[in-house]
């Protein structure tokens, strides 16, 4: 346990520079792929590795690549999704800031595999400073011949550009991202056609998350089969987890998939337990969109087995008692956290970020936010809990893109697992707010 493939050199001084990155084995996968492998061999290795999309959906990357249409005379594009906006997720920012060349290396190998000669990294606008770091690294890579015409003297040429967004969660959805990259509002497209057939400027396009693309380099270096030996079952390899909330050691951790959740939360190697010796109340394991679970169900499945950090184990029990690995945005809440207020906070987020195309999402998220606000004001009734349930059930699965589901699931799971909290407020007509700043910061300063 504890093998690192992406962050192995995270603490090496100057690892953001090409010479240092190179001295630690950087760009080896480009040499291997371009000099000794055909593009389809690279796709094959990625298939063998079992790598699944690290942005949240967990779709097998090799399979996604194999869907890419290859009509004669039409350019194909690889677009890196660096729009990281899922609340609780900050791993891509960390990786790009610390080791920018790891993304560039992955982009070169992946672009080669897909036959893309112009690729883009679409990064959220708030990460403007990270785009500067990437641009500097790209410049270094051009100067050293890793990008541009005839890379390593081969026939393969690649231009790589960074494109900044301007503040819109929805642009993390791949077709909204493509719209945004085309200079439009981030409105998700109706599918089909999928981007693999008609994506950027109508051309076949693959959109992959930062971490997914960075993982391609170690996969090529070690071989897909070796990579697949890490992890459990269909959860292969390592995963970056963004740990935040009421824990002693928030940060980005690279874990081997299969690590027990309990170890991740309480071990000093990772989160280091709950802050100020408090009890664990709930965890949102994969970014704000996935179902929230109470302490007992995040540590053990409903069957009583230890819950593991894998796609399958976290989903064990379905949405009745399970959740999802999602983006790996691991948000921990202690016993003093109000689940109702947390849900209001999430719902306000989805209301704010709904693009407005589909009425169930545009209207429903606003209704849910207003109803949840009634709980905070102490004016909600018991029937409002049923109303919330009803609204979320009418958003899920009824929208063009998954933002609707992402807005519905937190509501459904909070009511499913913490209904008592809603009932208490509705009955007593009182909501007792706490100042998280006071209770967390003041004792430490005293």
């Amino acid at each position: 346990m504890g093998r690192k493939l992406l962050l192995a050199h995270e603490n090496v001084p100057g690892i953001d520079r090409l010479d240092v990155y190179r001295a630690h084995g950087g760009y080896a996968s480009v040499e291997k792929a371009l000099k000794s492998m055909k593009p389809e061999d690279v796709v094959e290795e990625v298939k063998k590795s079992g790598l699944r999309g690290r942005g949240g959906a967990g779709f097998p990357t090799g399979l996604k690549w194999s869907f890419l249409a290859k009509p004669e005379g039409v350019p194909r594009y690889l677009v890196c999704n660096a729009d990281e906006s899922e609340p609780g997720t900050f791993k891509d920012r960390y990786l790009m800031e610390k080791i920018p060349h790891s993304l560039i290396e992955g982009m070169i190998v992946s672009s080669y595999a897909l036959g893309s000669n112009t690729s883009y990294i679409y990064i959220r606008g708030e990460y403007f400073y990270v785009s500067r770091i990437l641009e500097k690294a790209i410049q270094e890579a051009y100067e050293a011949g890793w990008l541009g015409k005839n890379i390593l003297g081969t026939d393969y040429s690649l231009d790589l550009y960074v494109q900044v967004g301007a503040g819109a969660y929805i642009c993390g959805e791949e077709t909204a991202l493509i719209e945004s990259l085309e200079g439009k509002r981030g409105n998700p497209r109706i599918k089909p056609p999928f981007p693999a057939v008609a994506g950027l400027w109508g051309c076949p396009t693959v959109v992959n998350n930062v971490e997914t693309i960075a993982a391609v380099a170690p996969i090529i270096n070690m071989g897909g089969e070796e990579y697949a030996k890490i992890g459990i079952g269909k959860s292969t390899g390592t995963k970056l987890i963004s740990a935040s909330g009421h824990i002693n050691k928030p940060g980005v951790y690279e874990i081997e998939l299969g690590l027990p959740v309990e170890e991740f939360i309480y071990s000093d190697q990772y989160c280091g337990g709950i802050r100020n010796g408090k009890k664990l109340k709930a965890v949102v394991a994969g970014g704000s969109s996935v179902p929230i679970l109470p302490a007992d169900l995040i540590l053990k499945t409903a069957k009583g087995e230890p819950r593991l950090m894998t796609y399958e184990s976290l989903f064990d029990g379905g949405f009745q008692s399970g959740t999802m690995l999602g983006s790996g945005g691991f948000i921990v809440m202690d016993e003093d956290t109000s689940i109702v207020k947390n849900l209001w906070n999430f719902t306000r987020f989805y209301h704010h970020e709904s693009c407005g195309q589909c009425s169930p999402c545009r209207e429903g998220t606003g209704w849910m936010e207003k109803i949840l606000h009634k709980f905070l004001e102490g004016t909600a009734n018991l029937s409002d809990i049923d109303l919330l349930w009803d609204i979320q059930s009418k958003i899920e699965g009824k929208t063009i893109c998954p933002l609707g589901d992402a807005a519905a699931w937190p509501v459904a799971s909070a009511i499913r697992h913490f209904k008592q909290e809603f009932e208490e407020i509705a009955k007593s007509k009182k909501f007792k707010d706490v100042s998280h700043y006071e209770r967390l910061h003041k004792p430490a300063m005293a």
């Binding site: 350019p75 990281e84 906006s85 899922e86 609340p87 609780g88 997720t89 900050f90 891509d92 920012r93 112009t118 883009y120 606008g125 708030e126 990460y127 403007f128 400073y129 500067r132 231009d159 550009y161 494109q163 900044v164 967004g165 301007a166 503040g167 819109a168 969660y169 945004s180 990259l181 085309e182 200079g183 439009k184 509002r185 981030g186 400027w201 963004s242 740990a243 935040s244 909330g245 009421h246 928030p250 940060g251 980005v252 949102v284 704000s288 945005g329 948000i331 956290t337 947390n342 906070n345 999430f346 987020f349 693009c355 100042s435 998280h436 700043y437 006071e438 967390l440 910061h441 300063m445």
Partner: protein, 193 residues
């Protein structure tokens, strides 16, 4: 709101003729346009709007949006519909430093509400307002991707993380003493952890 801004009441086509971007900005815009295939220059719109905003005291006036349309050879409405969609574009004048405090999820769990109240009290303004001297505008924003170092605020290109009241004082006092405008496009970001 948007339609009124771009309507006949406030828009002055004559004023557009006075819009001038710096040579540096125009050069950068040409560079950005070259990243896309022939005929796809509209793709440059969002990066160009960032530059335009920095060139125009931190906001996009109807005249500036019109000027951007002319630079990219697209219709003014194509610019406006994008400018009004993305939260980082300001359609009204703002202070020299726009303070954007994250209010979502982990930042809330670690005290962002109190940080926002503290800044409101310190500056004597409410969220969405600008100080009378035009130095600061206070905004709240959704998740900035800094959850492990929450609470966080962004000012221009810089991230200020692990905020406490004391850190807020130090950072805002520094900005006030320097008195200059901060843009997302600044190269000299100064993150504080």
């Amino acid at each position: 709101m948007g339609a009124q801004i771009h309507g006949t009441l406030e828009f002055n086509a004559e004023k557009r003729k006075d819009i001038r971007f710096s040579e540096e900005a125009l050069k950068e815009i040409e560079k950005i346009k070259s990243r896309y295939p022939q005929g796809k220059q509209k793709s440059a719109l969002i990066p160009v709007l960032h530059i335009a905003q920095a060139e125009n005291d931190g906001w996009l006036s109807p005249e500036v949006m019109d000027y951007v349309a002319s630079l990219l050879n697209i219709q003014p409405i194509e610019v406006f519909e994008v400018a009004s969609f993305y939260t980082m574009f300001n359609l009204k004048p703002v202070g020299k430093c726009v303070i954007e405090v994250c209010r979502t999820s982990s930042c809330w769990l670690l005290g962002a509400e109190d940080i926002i109240k503290y800044i409101e009290k310190k500056l004597g303004i409410k969220e969405g307002q600008t100080t009378p001297d035009g130095m600061f505008t206070l905004k709240t924003v959704e998740c900035l991707g800094s959850c492990g170092t929450a609470p966080v605020m962004q000012v221009g290109a810089s991230y200020h993380e692990n905020l406490t009241f004391e850190k807020v004082d130090k950072i805002l006092d520094k900005y006030r003493a320097e008195g200059r405008r901060r843009n997302y496009t600044d190269l000299d970001y100064e993150n504080t952890k």
